[in-house]
Subunit: 600 residues, 2 copies
Amino acid sequence: MENEQPVLRRPRPMMRATPRDMIAPRSSKAPHTRVGPGVKKAPPSASPLLRIIPLGGLEEIGRNTMCVEYGNDIIVLDLGFMFPREDMPGIDYVLADTTYLQENKEKIRGIFITHGHMDHMGAIPYLIKRLGMPPVYGTRLTIGMVRDRLEEFNLSKVVKLVEIGADYVLQLGVFSLSFFRVNHNIPDSVGVAIKTPIGTIIDTGDWKFDHTPQDERPTEFGKIARLGQDGVLLLCSDSTNSEKPGYSISEKKLQETIELLFSKAKGRIIVTTFASLISRIQQVINASHDLGRKIAVTGMSMEKAITTALDLGFLKVPKGTFIKLNTIDNYPPNKVTILSTGSQGQESSALGRMARGEHKQIKINETDTIVLSSSPIPGNERSVAAVMDLLLGFGAKVVYNKLLDIHSSGHAQQEEQKLMLQLVQPKYFMPIHGERHHLVQHAETAMEMGYAKENVLVLANGSVVEFNKHQDVRVLKDKLELEDVLVDGLGVGDVGSVVLRDRQVMSQDGMMVIIAAVNRKTGKVTGNLDVISRGFIYVKNAEDLINEVKVMATKMIESYDVKEQQGWTNLRSKMRDDIGDHLFKRTERRPMILPVIMQV
Amino acid sequence: MENEQPVLRRPRPMMRATPRDMIAPRSSKAPHTRVGPGVKKAPPSASPLLRIIPLGGLEEIGRNTMCVEYGNDIIVLDLGFMFPREDMPGIDYVLADTTYLQENKEKIRGIFITHGHMDHMGAIPYLIKRLGMPPVYGTRLTIGMVRDRLEEFNLSKVVKLVEIGADYVLQLGVFSLSFFRVNHNIPDSVGVAIKTPIGTIIDTGDWKFDHTPQDERPTEFGKIARLGQDGVLLLCSDSTNSEKPGYSISEKKLQETIELLFSKAKGRIIVTTFASLISRIQQVINASHDLGRKIAVTGMSMEKAITTALDLGFLKVPKGTFIKLNTIDNYPPNKVTILSTGSQGQESSALGRMARGEHKQIKINETDTIVLSSSPIPGNERSVAAVMDLLLGFGAKVVYNKLLDIHSSGHAQQEEQKLMLQLVQPKYFMPIHGERHHLVQHAETAMEMGYAKENVLVLANGSVVEFNKHQDVRVLKDKLELEDVLVDGLGVGDVGSVVLRDRQVMSQDGMMVIIAAVNRKTGKVTGNLDVISRGFIYVKNAEDLINEVKVMATKMIESYDVKEQQGWTNLRSKMRDDIGDHLFKRTERRPMILPVIMQV
């Protein structure tokens, strides 16, 4: 029986986690299915249902978060963040709404992270306390990246981090988790198979198939096929590249491209990529070493990721290859490679500073070759192009994705997605990780292979899927009502839709404050009526307009009977409307109007 | 001699412009070269130089504007607008800085527009008065599109519009203009050859080579080759697609793709594209007619563009093909095609309204096929994806560029760009229309073909290029100092960098107004000190923070000696700094702070 199994089977002697870390309390309470708003409770007498609730990563790219629940046990798969949409000005990151998990936190047996990228683990430091500090599980590099992230928040000592090997079996409550290695562009990525009393669920994490990967082992096809043969209830699979036909390019092929490119460079080579693309960094190290180039690193996040990957043995670097940034001028330019942050055109990144001529150690010149080795995240195209154009302004050679394929994506394309489906042969299929059009396309791929529409679950964040003991599926009519949890500076969730809307209004047409001191006795405006505007119009050229506003406002205030109206609210509202309309008529702009009345 | 030529030679009898429209005053004044700030005047005794000044469209996509000057004559090539960058919140369009032209407006002999797209003619209504109302020249459809645009501003009656045929020769001052048809995705596009006393300049406009174009004649290769054989001083050529190897796809090929797609649709077909892509609209008409589908149009700009193109004979539509939008339900769904605006995901467009279920006549259902037939303009990717996802939510089939190549670009790719260079064989080459990386790549293509670096002019807006009578080139060290001219509502140029910066600050972290009434005699704050914030933080959860600000502000005000300090300026500045620092420490946000002190 499942329950009789040891909590953790360890096939290898060199495991690092102590066994007691793995012991999760098994619940003996009667199953109950307390749920969030909008979802009806299951009748307490019913036998437990298996419940899957995606909380993030569906109908969007990022903040992957999935809840798997059976009776009194919940496990959370991934806990990532997302970059803000353009209608979220000033926001740093967007997290999944974990209210449902918070309300059921006593059930959470652990968080499993599939790999060490921010869209899969970046939300941990913000949310782990709210979830009752459950232990976090992952492979060695994944846990290393999580630890780095937690250190920034002084949390690395208080969160229980548990390292697992890909061959372990991890018992969390009623769930038995096993793992299979997949390929991605960071080593130590795994998919997870969750044995539940009702059937096995597979979550692929981010993956592609790569028969000649970069310093990783190939995908464990055997394990996946075996899981498939044993019977899989539900496959949840990565949809990021579901629109791309064919197969993804192998990292080995990319290594060749990079070597060719490097062999042609006559001066320094400056490569920028995501700090967490450890595979790409290894390729740059290999190509540099072959050509006798030393490597310097610039940019905090890049330094940190490299240090962690080196410490944990996930980067192979011949001795003496890395040099300090302030020694690069001691070497001939054609013997130097620089690894830099800034692949998304970020202003404050190392590459951003180079582009503006503000980097202390690195001044770009016409012998430099700059390689942008990652595609812009949608929304960043223009800032990336702007940085490129600044670099070209120094006469440097700039190589980017339109000129040469130097960014192999880490995600499976259509033929790989089909092969995954063939291997796993799930009864139900749920495309995850992608905007709605990605999910729909992935679903169509499955249906082309013969899957019936009712067995393909194209869902949204907050959808609640239930399987009963007969493996019948039901998607609840009511979704959980989710709200974006916004991170802005130190605040998590304290910026809501009102604050965002105000920011948008002010960013479009600015604002105008109208301040009047009103004599308590006479009801007349005393002294000056002040009008201050920002972001609306260049005031020095708009004196007439401002005077019109002053005249209007004075008239409205002095003809208002504050006692009869029981306060200033009605006046303020009328001032906003009438003065707003007047400004629109004169300018076709709608600044935010803030009337302030002070009785003196 | 050039000067003896008739002002206009008309090889065809059916021209529409009256000859007197064409008579531009020839100047007899001594040549002088008055220039804008930053450019030294040429010595008055020197023989005139030919001067080329790109004012828009270099190091950017859009607002194409070029000044060609010799002695006392200027012609302007194109006068387009650009869409705002993301650091220009609230802005509608960005125009070229035409200060140089305004300072020399008495020299302007005319504006020549190469084709009827907004990035080539959209700025005319905003700038034509400032330029002294020079006549605007173009081919029939181009002038039709310009007229439409001017009508929106009640200017179509006051601007002199002159229609030319592609075989005309147009004498404007010292310049003799002839034309050659090119292919693009709007009919009646031409390139222009300008014979000057120093040599011939060619501006290609937007172009590609298409041997099987859509209802256009093929490019006039013969004319181009002949110009090349007669000797060309300078070629200015479109760089938009300079990063794409090979040849562009023929519009005929695209017609086949559209027909195949249409033949598979089981219900209504809804196609969205730019209203000005007349060639695409013709393809939709053809495919619909072949399948017995009627066509309805929704969206103002689409209706207008189709009406104009029909009136001028640039769309061929069998009788009875168009139906009114409110009659579509009288036809079976598989006999209806709808042409709609909204290809860029614009909220207020017809497709945007369909996506939100707010379109009065069209409710999307699962039998609809929606075709997005244009690539997102960089920066619009996310809004396009959002609209697609809403449409998919109705169960409709959505076809877009990642799934099927249904947007053939109207711009030449590398092999075509090479052929253009081979045909024209210019002495100098200036890549135009493109961000810096596009221009650099186009230049590299030319250099691969053997052009010497010093004959390839990779320039910026405001660069001043001079050719002397020996055809020697000189790029002046000082560029014209240009500023973005921003259109915001009714204002043209009244929003500058200060207003934009304020909008950005407020969009990131909001703002806080601190209002204190101070007793003139005691220097004490009387009554309440008001703190109003918008877009900064959800105030109800931040009472502590607001109270801290009140305490800080009161203390600062009451310990300030307004007489000694000669006014409140120093206090306000200190309040901004200190309270700003405090808020940052507490929130890591930097709202704009506006202290208002009222003496009562």
